[in-house]
């Protein structure tokens, strides 16, 4: 008889012990913090229950572990190449794509009657967490495709939907979003790509786009670009931008591919990270024959695109959170196994060295990573939960809160995820700096996230200049209401009461700062206020994630305090200690930020270019 003691994890995705996500944490977040089971009360999700959620998450874990993780490093080392004719990506990327498509994940969020699964956003987000942790650059292709499909679904005509959606859902086609131009990045109002109406009602597109992810590849039969362009004669600035569908191959009836459209790959860009995703420079209409089809109404393109970008921004936050998470788990594993050094008071050279996880300074680096990574994941799942409440539960207030939080959901993980990866490298020491270990790639990959989908600076302007004040500031009230509910519950628990009191001090600082800045803006000092917007974004991020740490601590206490199982006790203690770290070490920094913000500190703004 053969091998009874075989390790099954060698055969298939080792989901539970995975270095991609701590599944106990994911389950805790989904079922105890964000109450996924309750989603079935929304009619749209009535067919779901925990067993089906678990089954779906298991499928995501399998695909991530078996088809994404194995080529993560290879795709980094062997970037896609362009020989002037064709782009070539790794065969493994194509196989992974096939599995995405076969699993049904590409269409999962859409209605059953549209070929989808009506999957809740919360569970979809958790599936995506597996994918980005395993391989962010391969996961980018399906994410972009789903995002493009969502826009066509929301704003396309019936015939556009029929022409493109089934193929985007089935994985036969992929999608892109083409906003950025060589001279126009953050300031989309200045974009120059033009669209000229022809007699058949379609447009001819002319211009150049840059940094377009997935703009060309050899994975799918066709590529559907969503292109921002200005119709001839349209107003200047953001009010004159329209959105077009521009397929790589034009479509004949019945889904047959027609002629090659006049959109050409000018070249690939060579990046620091996310190397498996092609980054392209695209030329539209060099031969004057690039056909584009207007999506929705003229001049509303930016608004449509922002819908997609809001989802994409949450997606970027998740990517940053999970690359941070991955680095955390890798460095944790290393720290448990690496013997080095002794305690500062141990003078005996013959004593056994400690594993580095015993050193307080290494614990500090691991705790900070745990706080950033798990806190960021919680933040993204909160955003997904709000999407569900709004879309399936019809709760408009959840939508208003999500609007307010979107810049934070994009930016907090993007700022602190790379910091977590920086600490992961530090935990590994020299090993962390080598390509033999995965953490340096995590860092390089994650470094993109504060740049794309609106830079960190642009997000901070959006938050402080617009989002805070939308809906007469209702978003702020809703946020404070939710925070208060957590604080009320947490302060009844002896272990948490002290931290709640500390949190309240800093929350008050945020409220005061917001008031002062709001008044200053009304008094014509918007320039001085917005000059320090990045500090405000950081402050808001810290308070939102601090709230989520109290929420996690509170729910962990409720869920596990009475459990006799050592795993549960360790999990609980870990959550409590991380909450303590966050409240005690991270949050007090908002007081310094508040000083600068409230005083409208002009140090940076008043610096003159010539003084550098």
């Amino acid at each position: 008889m053969s091998d009874t003691g075989f390790h099954f994890s060698e055969r298939q995705g080792a989901a539970v012990m995975s270095k991609l996500i701590n599944t106990k944490d994911l389950e805790f977040l989904l079922y105890h913090v964000f109450d996924a089971a309750q989603l079935a009360e929304f009619p749209r999700y009535a067919d779901y229950d925990r067993t089906s959620f678990d089954g779906i998450l298991g499928t995501a874990a399998r695909i991530a572990t078996d088809y994404l993780l194995p080529h993560n490093a290879k795709a980094d080392a062997q970037e896609p190449v362009f020989d002037g004719q064709r782009v070539e990506t790794l065969p493994e990327v194509k196989i992974a794509w096939k599995h995405f498509a076969a699993s049904g994940l590409l269409a999962a969020r859409h209605g059953i009657d549209e070929g989808g699964m009506q999957l809740p956003s919360l569970i979809h987000m958790a599936c995506n967490a597996w994918f980005v942790s395993a391989n962010p650059s391969t996961a980018a292709y399906p994410f972009l495709t789903s995002a493009a499909a969502n826009v066509i679904h929301a704003f396309g005509s019936q015939s556009q939907k029929q022409t493109f959606l089934p193929h985007l859902f089935s994985g036969r086609f992929a999608g892109t979003m083409a906003l950025t131009e060589p001279d126009v990045g953050s300031s989309l109002g200045d974009l120059t790509t033009r669209a000229i109406l022809t007699e058949d009602g379609s447009y001819r597109i002319k211009g150049q786009k840059m940094y377009i992810s997935g703009g060309d590849q050899d994975i799918t039969e066709n590529i559907v670009h969503l292109v921002l362009a200005r119709i001839q004669g349209a107003p200047e600035g953001v009010k004159g931008i329209s959105l077009f569908i521009v397929p790589k191959f034009r479509m004949q009836a019945d889904g047959v591919l027609g002629e090659r459209n006049d959109v050409q790959l000018a070249g690939l860009l060579h990046k620091m990270g996310y190397r498996g995703t092609t980054s392209t420079v695209l030329t539209f209409g060099e031969q004057g024959d690039c056909h584009g089809y207007l999506l929705g109404e003229p001049n509303k393109g930016l608004m449509y695109m922002f819908k997609m970008m809001n989802e994409a921004r949450i997606g970027v936050g998740l990517g940053a959170a999970m690359i941070g998470y991955r680095g955390y788990l890798e460095s944790l594993d290393y720290a448990r196994q690496r013997p080095q050094g002794r305690s500062p008071t141990e003078k005996n050279p013959h004593s056994k060295p400690l594993n580095i996880i015993e050193h307080a300074d290494v614990k500090r680096m691991l705790l900070a990573q745990k706080c950033y990574a798990e806190g960021s994941l919680a933040l993204c799942l909160l955003a997904a939960r709000l999407v569900d409440e709004q879309e399936a539960g019809g709760n408009q207030e959840s939508g208003i809160l999500l609007d307010l939080l979107t810049p934070v959901v994009k930016s907090y993980p993007s700022f602190y995820g790379p910091r977590a990866n920086d600490l992961a490298i530090q935990v590994l020491g020299g090993a962390g700096y080598t390509r033999e270990y995965p953490v340096e790639q995590c860092y390089r990959d994650n470094r993109l996230n504060p740049i794309h989908e609106g830079t960190h600076g642009i997000q901070s302007l959006d938050l402080l200049g617009r989002k805070l004040w939308q809906h007469q500031g209702r978003g702020q009230q809703l946020l404070l209401g939710r925070i208060e509910a957590t604080l009320k519950s947490a302060q009844t628990k002896t272990v948490l009461a002290l931290w709640v009191a500390e949190y309240r001090i800093h929350l008050k600082t945020l409220i005061n700062t917001t008031l002062i800045l709001g008044q200053a803006m009304q008094n014509g000092q918007a320039d001085a206020v917005l000059a320090n917007s990045a500090l405000y974004l950081d402050m808001m991020g810290k308070l939102v994630v601090g709230w989520l740490w109290l929420e996690m601590a509170d729910k962990a206490q409720t869920t596990f305090a009475d459990s006799p199982a050592p795993d549960d006790q360790n999990f609980l203690a870990g959550k409590l200690q991380a909450a303590r770290y966050f409240i005690g070490w991270e949050l007090p920094e908002v007081e310094l930020l508040a000083q600068r913000l409230q005083g409208l500190d002009g140090t940076c703004r008043e610096m003159q270019p010539d003084w550098f």
Binding site: M1, S2, D3, T4, F6, F8, S9, R11, Q12, A14, A15, V16, M17, T23, D47, T51, S52, D54, G55, I56, G58, T59, R62, I63, A102, S103, G104, L105, A108, M117, L119, S563, P564, A565, P566, D567, D568
Partner: protein
């Protein structure tokens, strides 16, 4: 041809098993459970037979508490057509399991019964063999290849010396070994369709079986901790230590 597949709910193979403080068994509170990996292979094999047009219906059966419906649903999501749950909260030992399955075989009259060669919780490796004996069917255990050929099935078995192929007349019992196949994952649409597939629940009494455990568990203990290794300086030192310390030669 109808195929019956038996699946068991067991502690997930990735979970670090904990012994209860009173040494009466393994602690299952809050522990992640899953389908026994050998049973996954059994389901996969049945689904492949169906895809090849050999099997026409796959019935999946599980014995255990109500929660074992989750494992039946997993099998339904992977491609089984219908489920039977034999619900009991009692301990089910191999012979009782075999008797219950025999009752299902009598009712369903499958041409092929596929089971895992053993379950990773109790590691008995008995149920398939006992079922074959009770049902008077031939058995092909530790299968690494299953080929149905008319009214026969050829089962390649993994044995200590290598591979042995046995030809069995149908109906027959097959138990799966690890290399038989690589189980698939369930697609999202199939996970949802599984909810709509029929799942019948019966009790052992409905099947005319009274559970009668014959073995008593006296004590469950953790395996002894592995002692740390040492480096030996020479072959003679190794031999000396094997002789006098390890006492194995």
């Amino acid at each position: 041809m109808k195929v019956l597949v038996a699946v068991k709910r067991v502690i997930d193979y990735n979970v670090k098993v904990r012994v209860k403080a009173d040494n009466t068994g393994v602690d299952l509170t809050n522990v992640k459970m899953a389908m026994n990996p050998f049973c996954e292979i059994a389901v996969e094999e049945a689904v492949r037979l169906k895809e090849k047009g050999v099997a026409t219906e796959i019935v999946v059966v599980s014995i255990g508490p109500k929660t074992s419906q989750e494992q039946i649903r997993t099998a339904l999501a992977l491609g089984a057509d219908r489920g039977i749950q034999i619900e009991t909260d009692e301990e089910v030992q191999s012979l009782d399991a075999a008797k219950l399955l025999k009752a299902v075989v009598d009712k369903e009259q499958p041409q092929l019964v596929i089971l895992g060669k053993q379950s990773i919780d109790s590691d008995n490796n008995q149920t398939g063999q006992m079922l074959a004996a009770l049902a008077g069917m031939g058995q092909g255990t530790f299968a690494s290849e299953v080929v149905v050929d008319g009214d026969k099935v050829n089962v390649t078995r993994e044995v200590d010396g290598g591979l042995v192929t046995v030809g069995l007349k149908l109906p027959a019992v097959v138990t799966t070994d690890l290399r038989l196949n690589e189980p698939r994952y369930a697609s999202l649409p199939n996970i949802m369709k599984a909810k709509k597939k029929p799942l019948e629940s019966v009790s052992p009494a409905d099947l005319g079986v009274t559970l009668s455990p014959r073995l008593t568990t006296l004590k469950v203990e953790e395996p002894p901790k592995r002692a740390g290794g040492i480096k030996v300086g020479s072959v003679s030192e190794l031999v000396e230590k094997l002789k006098n310390e390890a006492k194995v030669i």
